[in-house]
């Protein structure tokens, strides 16, 4: 599933460009200072890798599967042989990719809401949590489900801590950041953020997961969907609210 979701995401990124025919210009330079340049190059590496990775499992899932060309067979052999190093590379790259959105936004110093070093880690943890929720939901192996439920509990805890810390930082910051925080504390975004993201998307699934681990019968889909929806709404709100914040002069 992962490679297809990646490509879907890439497609949306492409749609968002306004000068589309020039998108290849991303790949004629490497700009170390620009987070977006990093993101583009990371995606360039991880997309084909994740396709290879998934394809190498195809025979296990569909025993009758045969590759049509010789070189694909050989490629598959190669991927299977080097699975461990490829896995490490993919983990590293996916961490960069997970933190990338947050870092991208935090580099925009004109938007006080985004301009904080905590945004990267926060986006990473929220992304990992939605990932854990997906595995929790999709996995058929009981042990794996339990493991990822536990992991997700820890991730939600870290996420809540980061959110509180984020607002503490804003309130102790310059005027523009106090303004940005007030959008969430008593302004337009207070209800959707604390209600939908924090309560529905984090606290509620947290308790459901705890109950599940205690042996109560709760369909894994419920907390997972809550977390996925919470993660999505979190991103939408952060992007929209961030664009509304600015310097005053």
């Amino acid at each position: 599933m992962a490679p297809f979701l990646l490509v879907l995401g890439l497609f949306f990124l492409f749609l968002d460009l306004k000068h589309k025919l020039f998108f290849w210009r991303l790949y004629t330079t490497i700009r170390l200072e620009s987070p977006m340049s990093w993101g583009a190059w990371v995606l360039m590496v991880i997309t084909p890798l994740s396709f290879l990775w998934s394809a190498s499992y195809l025979k296990e899932l569909v025993p009758t599967w045969r590759w049509r060309w010789k070189f694909l067979e050989r490629l598959e052999g190669l991927v299977i042989r080097y699975r461990t190093p490829i896995a490490w590379v993919m983990i590293l790259y996916s961490l960069i990719l997970g933190i990338y959105t947050g870092i991208l936004l935090s580099a925009f110093n004109a938007r006080p809401l985004w301009n904080t070093a905590l945004l990267g880690p926060l986006f990473l943890v929220s992304g990992l949590s939605t990932g854990a929720a997906t595995i929790m939901w999709m996995s058929k192996i009981h042990l794996e489900r339990r493991l990822f439920t536990r992991i997700d509990l820890i991730l939600i805890g870290i996420e809540l801590f980061l959110i509180i810390h984020l607002f503490m930082g804003f309130l102790a910051g310059p005027e523009v950041q106090i303004e940005a925080a007030s959008l969430f504390l008593n302004g337009r975004y207070a209800l959707p953020f604390w209600g939908l993201v924090v309560v529905m998307g984090m606290v509620l699934p947290f308790f459901l997961e705890v109950l599940e681990l205690r042996g109560k019968k709760i369909p894994a889909a419920i907390p997972a969907i809550l977390i996925l929806a919470g993660g999505l709404i979190f991103r939408i709100i952060m992007v929209e609210a961030g664009e509304a914040t600015r310097y005053l002069y």
């Binding site: 000068h19 020039f22 700009r31 620009s34 977006m36 310097y247």
Partner: protein, 177 residues
Amino acid sequence: MRYAMAIDTKKCVGCSDCVIACQIENEVPVGYCRDWVTETVHGSYPMLELELRSERCNHCDNPPCVRCCPTGASHVVEGGVVLVTPNKCIGCGACIESCPYEARYSHPDGHVDKCTFCIHRIRKGLQPACVAVCPTRCMYFGDLDDPSSEVSEMLRTRKYKVLAPEAGTKPQVYYLV
């Protein structure tokens, strides 16, 4: 060389001639502009004070727009002037989000556009179009590294401010107050 502009808020009458001169000189598409005039009012009626400012890209000394650009389309040329190369720009909007002054806009052709300090005129020894056209002569353009230039002179003899200095961008359009 460090090109800069000083704009006298006490002389500006808000006629917007600079806006129109720029639109014509730079063939800015209809409905868009690279410079604009803002009014801020202080005090309460009838004791009011109005400040008029002709605003544009500040050609920052520490430009976040250039830092964020993934393709190098936004870049710095002689005198610290910040330019955009249209056929390198992918229209990602990173620079628009990173500019604290809303100096950039998305051109209908897809790329990003903004004030160039009329670098094509400067290279010919002319003044930027807005400076040349201003009927009250409230704008001064020149090289800050040259102590005898008009801008240096103005910044030496007058009180001035820059916009949102706390953003850390080191803007190079100075407002005489």
